[in-house]
């Protein structure tokens, strides 16, 4: 005789289809071992169903304070911006210009006074310290 095994739990839960229900009922009439096992399974099932229902902690359902949408920039964002600005400034100073510098360019970029010598051949740049470079 083939015993019911897992079909007994399905039967306890009312999840058997009509054909299975008939088979289970017939078998239980003839098999004392399966009747005993069915009772044992029902012990476990009843035990689980007897567990008290726990209430949800109130802290989980109370409305939460609205958090501001505007975020403070992080330290990393500020640092990254400063580094980027420094790189751009350095690149501007050291990158050779695509075209010859005009006097106004030199004056603007180096902050120095520039003037042509009397012959107009060489360029004399006077740095803010007062030293002249040719």
């Amino acid at each position: 005789m083939k015993h019911l095994d897992e079909l007994m739990s399905v039967f306890l839960d009312g999840e058997t289809n009509p054909a299975e229900s008939v088979r289970v009922r017939r078998h239980l009439l003839e098999c004392e071992q399966c009747r005993r096992r069915l009772e044992e399974l029902n012990v476990a099932r009843s035990a689980l169903r007897s567990l008290p229902v726990l209430e949800l902690p109130m802290s989980l359902v109370e409305p939460r304070p609205v958090t501001p949408l505007v975020k403070r920039p992080s330290v990393w964002v500020g640092t990254a911006a400063a580094v980027a600005a420094a790189v751009i400034a350095i690149a501007t100073v050291v990158t050779p210009p695509a075209e010859p510098l005009s006097l106004s360019d030199v004056s603007r970029q180096l902050g120095a006074r520039a003037s042509l010598d009397a012959g107009g051949v060489s360029l004399k740049v006077v740095a803010p310290s007062g030293e002249a470079n040719e």
Binding site: E6, E40, L41, V43, A44, L48, S50, P52
Partner: protein
């Protein structure tokens, strides 16, 4: 089970929060972890409500709940199991053991919870979804993404192991 979509996150918390909490508590046996899981599930629900496609809301919700629990278990795999709080003993003492004579002498809640925690996860999840939450086999199968036949087997084996553990605890 309802197919209507709750209007808001707050309503999901109000209608389903207690079941999610009980599911989590019975699986982990710890009120703090259970509360954390409820918060995580509600957060995922809040994120997912906009993209939710009308269908079985309960199936969607339990899939989220189950996945959140699995993620949490993986995250805390190395954490030792916390002991049950004293409050559980108090609740157990107040609970009714029902008509089953074989369980009359047991410290019901504590023994059942301890036996539950000793079950392999798949069996524990199946019996909690079935016997504590009250989901049908089809709903469990959808939530866990396994065939109904697997659900049948897990519930049956889970109950057999649980019954053996309860008898040992009572002996």
């Amino acid at each position: 089970m309802t197919d209507t979509v709750p209007l808001s996150w707050e309503e999901v918390a109000r209608v389903h929060g207690r079941k999610i909490y009980n599911f989590a508590y019975r699986l982990c046996g710890n009120p703090d972890d259970a509360a954390d899981l409820v918060q995580e599930v509600l957060l995922r629900v809040r994120r997912g409500l906009d993209s939710y496609q009308p269908g079985s809301f309960d199936g969607w919700l339990w899939r989220i709940t189950r996945n959140a629990f699995i993620d949490e278990v993986r995250r805390r795999q190395r954490r030792p199991t916390s002991p049950l709080p004293e409050a559980v003993d108090r609740w157990s003492a107040q609970s009714s053991p029902g008509a089953d004579e074989q369980l009359a002498e047991m410290r019901l809640g504590e023994d059942i919870q301890a036996a539950l925690l000793d079950l392999p996860y798949e069996f524990r999840e199946a019996v909690v979804m079935c016997d504590v939450i009250g989901l049908s086999y089809d709903e469990i199968a959808r939530a866990v993404a396994v065939p109904v036949g697997t659900v049948r087997s897990r519930i049956h084996r889970g109950r057999k192991l649980l019954r053996t553990a309860l008898v040992e605890a009572a002996g």
